[in-house]
């Protein structure tokens, strides 16, 4: 009896490990984001440029007819860009903003288009804020909570403040890349079983803008 229980206990880490592994991304996006400010210092919207990995880019281009093989013009990609813009709504554009702790919403995207370079598609679009707002502290999270998509802010110049008031400071917190493997399976891993509900949050890119 005691032996059986001990064996059962031995199996636990195996099972826990197996289940908390959860989903892993199927799509990778390298993102550049611009925060757009009006002259009076209100935030009017966010302009994203998301570059997809080559496998997903190839997948997305499936069935799209072009005049020249392997070359996709902006016009030829227009229907796909529209599909993208429309489907993103379901996921709240993977863009979550808080102004001094209050959730802010975005309108449907405008000025969206795709371009294709080096076997990679880049989706450009602008999200207008539902109501432009001022904030002492703006927090913008870009991530997929289901982690089907892995968002990484681009290595170079990932976030730009466009027309931001004087003295605003931007800080980018990148997600942990998960490679810090030194941390062994510890008590907390078990205790925080519920925390996995926020699974995708661990992969959020957190942009914080503090303005005077």
């Amino acid at each position: 009896m005691a032996l059986a229980l001990r064996r059962l206990a031995l199996l636990l880490p195996l099972l826990l490990g197996a289940t908390v592994a959860q989903a892993h991304p199927h799509v990778w996006i390298s993102a550049v984001s611009e925060l757009l400010y009006a002259p009076d210092g209100t935030l009017t919207g966010v302009r994203h440029a998301w570059t997809f990995d080559d496998m997903f880019s190839t997948y997305a281009l499936q069935g799209i007819e072009t005049k020249q093989k392997g070359v996709y013009t902006r016009e030829e990609l227009a229907p796909l860009a529209q599909t993208n813009a429309e489907s993103l709504k379901e996921f709240a554009y993977f863009t979550f903003a808080k102004a001094d702790g209050t959730k802010q919403r975005f309108e449907d995207p405008v000025d969206y288009f795709l371009d294709y370079n080096n076997s990679q598609l880049t989706l450009h679009f602008t999200l207008p804020a539902k109501t432009p707002f001022k904030a002492k502290q703006l927090v913008l999270d870009v991530f997929d909570r289901t982690y089907f998509i892995d968002f990484q802010m681009a290595d170079k110049d990932p976030v730009r403040l466009v027309g931001a008031p004087e003295g605003c400071k931007m800080q980018l917190q990148r997600p942990n890349d998960g490679s810090a493997s030194a941390q062994a399976l510890n008590e907390q891993t078990f205790a925080s079983g519920g925390a996995n509900a926020n699974f995708g949050m661990m992969f959020a890119n957190k942009i914080t803008v503090d303005c005077p």
């Binding site: 059986a4 989903a23 796909l80 991530f143 892995d150 942990n176 998960g178 925080s192």
Partner: protein, 351 residues
């Protein structure tokens, strides 16, 4: 065998259920969303240790698949590399959601199934998943040259059908197992000792193959025989049970893995569709190994519970029926949760 106090048996029962819930994995991914659509405020992000390591491996393997397919265009030997990576990816990936671990394990626990049967079901459903993925891409992309939007739409439709089937399958299991559980409850309340003695002869009908050879000394007194509402255990695990097992394979196997579809479309675009197909089947093999391992663990865990509760006359059967009923309920909950979007992590994301 020493007799167990009811309390200890109950504790063991709870331990098993806790274990099972873990196997299920459903709880972890459920309801990550607030009613306002935003993410919940999260505790400090921490992706370390084993979890982080697993995730990192999966991602690495998956990303290497596209690189290797590209390489295979000019260098044929890269295909071997592709197959090796796909196999490893399958093993790791199946630990994540969506490969029927929960459904198959719950099914095995709900019924009097053997580990061997679990292995067969795991491999059959993984094979079917691979076949469906290849069929979707062969017909959609290769034959009809539809757009990704159409293909992803088809994938979603299949997905919803699969979740619906899981829910129906679970409802059916709940119906039969609920009957057995209620019978066991009634028998237990009426005259446990007598019921136990009277049903001693029934033992051999309930267990099959090595299952009963190893544990001949355990007497699980099937309290519901004689006034059964659901099918008797031997009906479930006997030759007819294979048909029921087929239902499990269909519900799980009908849903292709989105990862496989991406790989197949990519391979097709590179002019190496056959390599993509080979990779998909090898991936399925890896998946099957992981799912089968978890299924065997689930069967073993139930076996432990049976042994622990076996010492109690009457009550042991009640506990076993309770566990089976619980497992059946999990299948139903799981299917319903997937269907209505409470479990979001398994959704195909169409962009």
């Amino acid at each position: 065998m020493t007799r167990l106090s009811p309390l200890r048996a109950l504790a063991a029962c709870f331990a098993l259920i806790a274990l099972f819930v873990t196997v299920d994995g459903a709880i972890h991914v459920a309801m990550a969303q607030t009613p306002f659509g935003g993410p919940r405020p999260a505790p400090e992000p921490q992706v370390g240790g084993f979890v982080g390591w697993l995730l990192a491996r999966q991602s690495e393997f998956y990303r290497e698949i596209s690189t290797t397919i590209r390489a295979a265009k000019s260098d044929g030997s890269a295909v071997w590399m592709l197959l090796a990576i796909s196999f490893a990816y399958g093993i790791f990936h199946a630990a994540g959601p969506g490969h029927g671990k929960a459904v198959i394990s719950s099914y095995l626990v709900a019924n009097q199934e053997t580990a061997w049967r679990g292995i067969v079901l795991s491999f059959a459903s993984a094979l079917m998943q691979a076949l469906v993925a290849v069929a979707v891409v062969a017909v959609g992309a290769w034959l009809l040259n539809v757009t990704a939007k159409t293909m992803c739409g088809a994938e979603k439709a299949i997905e919803i059908a699969s979740y619906g089937l899981i829910a129906i399958f679970g409802a059916r299991l709940v119906w039969t197992k609920g009957g057995a559980f209620i019978s066991a409850l009634q028998a237990d309340r009426r005259q446990p000792a007598l019921a136990a003695a009277a049903h001693q002869h029934h033992d051999h009908d309930h267990y099959h193959g090595h299952d009963h050879d190893h544990h001949g000394h355990d007497h699980v007194h099937d309290a519901h025989c004689g006034h059964s509402h659901g099918p008797a255990p031997d009906e479930l695990a006997g030759p007819g049970g294979w048909r029921r097992g087929l239902a499990a394979v269909l519900t799980v196997g009908i849903r292709p893995c989105s990862g496989a579809i991406l790989v197949l479309v990519f391979a097709l675009a590179q002019g190496l569709f056959w390599a993509g197909i080979a990779a998909t089947f090898v991936m399925g093999l890896g998946t099957a190994i992981t799912v089968a391992t978890i299924a065997v663990v689930a069967v073993f865990a139930k076996d432990v519970a049976r042994r622990l509760s076996g010492g109690r006359d009457g009550g042991g059967a009640l506990i076993m029926r309770g566990i089976e009923f619980g497992a059946a309920g999990l299948v139903l909950l799981f299917g319903a949760g997937l269907l209505f979007g409470y479990i979001a992590a398994e959704r195909t994301t169409c962009l």
